[in-house]
Assembly symmetry: C2
Homo-oligomer: 286 residues x 2
């Protein structure tokens, strides 16, 4: 069983001796819990690369906006801990809100061109919440490596830039998105979906295959691809709307001419559930 810590001070002291006395490297997997196969991949990657693997389980209120799904976000700490045990996680950190935020933070962190577009535009304050909690967790855990899924692609880019801009002594390791056999990207939010909604949610993945096919057959006009994606997704009965479909380069800048390695990012409402997904163009055999 992993050792469970609730208090920042206690895990900090424990890891201090791990780090110094036994000179072990620390891998860190920050999560909001309700762990799925995607999280397992992060954990396995960390287990390969580090002596000790720490998983944090914390639904961070700061990254949810007014009217978002903070209250109903799925939580099951007991199940999460047993998954961590199965995966051989060494330490679980599951702090309370009071321990993480004894006072409401006054800090606001923005990263120009990264936190103010796409998710940042549709979820104002979201990335401030993400950056704040990630910095706090990094400062508490002080890991050598931290693992982030490509599923939250913009978040990954934001964290990578945060690390660079602040000279954080941690290596960010991206881990590919895990999908169900039918293509749905794993997300704790998938539990919100009814069977009919889940069927419509498959349109996200299938729109990527469509775009990939168009790209492979010579269509490099981003607008054409985005329009095809939109049209395809909106045909599905439970799709309530699209927040954005964008094709961006390595620096998260929208492109007009698509090239290999550019990425489709999208956010779609299926019923009352907001799903995000992304796809790197030019790799897949379609």
């Amino acid at each position: 069983m992993p050792t469970l810590f609730r208090k920042p001070r206690e895990i900090r002291n424990y890891l201090k001796s791990v780090r110094c006395e036994s000179k072990q490297s620390i891998g860190f997997v920050p999560t909001m819990g309700y762990l799925h196969e995607g999280h397992r991949r992060l954990i396995r990657e960390s287990k390969i690369q580090n002596d000790i693997t720490v998983v944090s389980i914390y639904v961070n209120p700061l990254q949810f906006g007014q009217g978002e799904d903070y209250e109903r976000y799925p939580r099951d700490l007991e199940r999460d801990i047993s998954i961590c045990a199965e995966e051989g996680v060494d330490v679980v950190f599951a702090p309370s809100d009071e321990d993480m935020y004894p006072e409401k933070p006054l800090i606001n962190i923005e990263i120009k061109g990264l936190t103010d577009i796409l998710e940042g535009k549709f979820r104002p304050g979201h990335f401030n919440g993400v950056c704040t909690v990630v910095l706090k967790l990094f400062n508490i855990i002080q890991p050598d490596r931290a693992y982030f899924g490509e599923k939250d692609y913009q978040q990954l880019k934001v964290i990578q830039r945060l690390v660079k801009d602040l000279s954080l002594p941690v290596e960010i390791v991206p881990v590919p998105t895990v999908r169900d056999p039918d293509g749905l990207a794993l997300s704790s939010r998938n539990t919100y979906l009814s069977p009919e909604e889940r069927e419509s949610a498959l349109s996200l993945y299938r729109s990527f295959l469509l775009a990939e096919k168009l790209f492979k057959s010579g269509n490099t006009d981003a607008n054409l691809l985005k329009e095809a994606i939109r049209e395809f997704i909106l045909k599905h009965p439970r799709v309530k709307g699209i927040d954005y479909v964008e094709i961006i380069d390595q620096d998260l800048k929208p492109v007009s001419e698509v090239k290999i390695g550019d990425r489709i990012l999208l956010a779609v409402w299926v019923g009352n559930t907001r799903l995000i997904d992304n796809w790197r163009l030019g790799d897949a055999k379609v």
Copy 2:
């Protein structure tokens, strides 16, 4: 002689072994160089409380605004290193701009109610520059304690809040302002002052004594005290203007009724030199 490091990576590796292998505590004094007695006090305090004292010497371009004194800010690394040697500093970190900012940071850090008032209002972007460089230095040095002068009082409060909001594993130690025998608060910028300007610059300290006297004799109206300070300072020939005179409480909130422990903060132009100073009310025997 202190060991001199130029490269973040090298000092980081060196201090890693200090921290872990010899289990020594690290005190850190961040400076922009051109060291004076104020810096010496910070260093001495660190020497008392820690096994190893690290001084950084870096004129951080990011905290200077357009048209400010970045170019003419006094620099003398050789002299600084010999002062560090005199004080028994163990390690000096003097990075180049290229090493600190291989790319221009995209991050913007604000702390509501702290970075947007007083200095932050008159020097837009200043505290973002301060917060960014301090976080970078903390992440490179990873000190147990860091020493900041009360001279830059708002900066001290901003850093304290940064540490709290981000759960930084460092203790911030405030060190009282050091003054010349005639009361002028020590600052590297005092080198800009002509003898006549220096004489007018004494009005800052003397206005504090005046306010203290008024307060001690029962005047608790902040506006009355501020007006008396303004009037007194503006009488001096080389004073070109006042950016602000404010009286604030522990949380940096302006007060209308003054009580013991509140602080006067001010910024005054003497010739082409902008000086800041502050004063805690109710302590001094005047």
